[in-house]
């Protein structure tokens, strides 16, 4: 089922005017920010499809930047997000693409600071819901409905078992798990939806495993 909660239907509380163009966009920005882990110094936003055509009138740029600054869909600071970004020295670039996307409301967000960069592609599927379809070039499906763990690793045997063993030891239940890799034996990304959020300690234990490059734990939106 696409929708799992009554609050997907009655909600979210949000700043208008469009659940797809503002709330969904804000959540794409917020998930990218949560994945990044802290305030970036740069954000490059690329709009496709309907986002590209109507973002100015809908304030999609304002919403997605609000999300990148860490604002939730109902945050009243949202309408001032572009000037707040400037005050906080977050350099924002907004561009549009004429490419025809798979989904009409698609945005690509690349956020970075001096040490790291994260690039995500997100689609706004209606009613304020969104899905992240790509992280750093890996095809994924992240909804933000559940706490989600992302594990960047090298494609080696036994790693899935090692990761799930650590989660089991901490009584973290896995709801959904997916693995994307660019080619056999190359870089890979595990996306794990869990019932309980993984703590910093768990992330450190996972990071200590061989062949694991990075771990990011994001709360449910």
């Amino acid at each position: 089922m696409k929708y799992r909660s009554v609050f997907d239907i009655i909600g979210p509380i949000m700043i208008g005017p469009s659940s797809s163009h503002t709330a969904g966009a804000a959540r794409i920005g917020l998930l990218a920010r949560n994945l990044f882990g802290n305030k970036p110094t740069r954000a490059d936003i690329l709009f496709y499809g309907s986002f590209a055509k109507t973002y100015k009138g809908h304030g999609t740029d304002i919403a997605i930047v609000g999300g990148i600054l860490g604002f939730d869909t109902f945050d009243k600071r949202m309408t001032e997000s572009l000037s707040i970004a400037k005050e906080q020295h977050v350099d924002i670039t907004i561009r549009t693409s004429d490419d025809i996307p798979n989904h009409p409301n698609t945005a690509r967000v690349t956020i970075s600071d001096e040490t790291k960069t994260v690039s995500v592609c997100g689609i706004s599927i209606g009613g304020g819901k969104m899905e992240i379809t790509e992280v750093d070039g890996f095809p994924v499906r992240i909804t933000g409905d559940m706490p989600t763990l992302l594990v960047w690793h090298e494609d080696r045997y036994g790693l899935v078992a090692a990761v799930s063993e650590i989660l089991a030891a901490h009584k973290i239940n896995i709801g959904y798990m997916d693995m994307a890799r660019k080619s056999r034996g190359a870089q890979a990304l595990m996306v794990i939806e869990t019932d309980q959020a993984a703590s910093e300690v768990i992330c450190q234990e996972l990071c200590a495993l061989s062949y694991i490059n990075n771990v990011s734990s994001i709360a449910a939106l």
Binding site: M1, K2, Y3, R4, S5, V6, F7, D8, I9, I10, G11, P12, I13, M14, I15, G16, P17, S18, S19, S20, H21, T22, A23, S50, K53, T54, K56, G57, H58, G59, F74, K76, M78, T79, P104, N105, I125, G126, G127, G128, D195
Partner: protein
């Protein structure tokens, strides 16, 4: 867990419960939260809706684009000064729906029901009908769960966004949701709520999403108005004992098929319908320039 309106009505009947109660219990089970926590979350949505209605019926400001704003105030003034032909309760629901959608267009705070573009209909009818029926806060929260249950079925079997299924999916879903909730608040049965959904949604089938300049304003605000009126009349018809010849789930299925068959020019792309009229294009140029 229910997947169809028929299953929902069946659950209400076998467990002798209202639609709202089934939705509260289902949400509690799937989320792991207590029923009270779930109710508290919905109360927050109710408060946001109340603030938007109260702001919209007194504030005449226009939106950023200048396309909409002030119509809810006009309706409220008209209702005070004249005897509306279609009746005060109906027009109150319409004005409060317009109020909420105008606040949305102004980038104000609203609760999506099920989307922002259709956010007026559920609260608009709620804040008109509740005083008429002397409903307390608990009943008002239940109204939202009943509406949510219907939207939940529609969203999972068809769609709720204009980009996916046209405005029938957006304002149409909201209208069916409100119709069911009005029936329950008025003391009707779950079966009557289901009939109200079918009657309301049938009259929204085929509705295209053709926002002028691509903005959620024209024709959205006035479609929220008509959605509220449609929901009120559909609820009264169902309470009178009128049944839909086509079962509710089949109406939802028809809505899905119509949406799939609808060309992309009529799905929120601003390439067709009212958006493509000479005046629609002129308004677009005025707002965005020729670029």
């Amino acid at each position: 867990m229910f997947r169809t309106i028929a299953e929902l009505v069946e659950l209400c009947s076998t467990e002798n419960k209202k639609i709202s109660q089934i939705m509260i219990e289902t949400e509690s089970e799937t989320s792991g939260k207590s029923q009270q926590e779930v109710i508290d979350m919905m109360e927050r949505n109710l408060d946001v809706m109340k603030e938007a209605v109260e702001r919209g019926i007194v504030e005449p400001d226009r939106s950023r684009s200048g396309l909409t704003g002030g119509d809810a105030v006009l309706l409220q003034t008209y209702m005070k000064e004249k005897e509306p032909l279609s009746g005060k309760l109906l027009l109150d629901a319409v004005s409060k729906s317009v109020a909420t959608n105008e606040v949305n267009a102004k980038m104000g705070t609203i609760c999506a029901t099920p989307t922002a573009g259709a956010c007026g209909i559920v609260p608009g009818t709620l804040f008109a009908v509740a005083p008429k029926l002397n409903a307390d806060r608990e009943q008002m929260v239940r109204y939202l769960f009943t509406a949510g249950a219907v939207g939940f079925v529609i969203a999972n079997n068809a769609f709720i966004s204009g980009a996916a299924g046209g405005c029938q999916a957006e304002v149409g879903s909201a209208t069916g949701m409100a119709a069911a909730a009005i029936v329950e608040m008025a003391g009707g049965s779950a079966e009557q709520s289901a009939q109200a959904v079918a009657i309301a949604l049938k009259n929204m089938l085929g509705l295209v999403c053709d926002p002028v300049a691509g903005l959620v304003e024209v024709p959205c605000v006035k479609r929220n108005a008509m959605g509220a009126a449609n929901a009120m009349v559909a609820a009264d018809m169902a309470l009178a004992g009128i049944r839909s010849a086509i079962p509710t789930d089949e109406v939802i299925e028809a809505m899905y098929r119509i949406g799939c068959a609808m060309p992309n020019t009529l799905k929120e792309t601003a390439l067709g319908g009212l958006a493509a009229t000479p005046t629609g294009r002129e308004l677009e140029r005025r707002i965005f320039g020729d670029a």
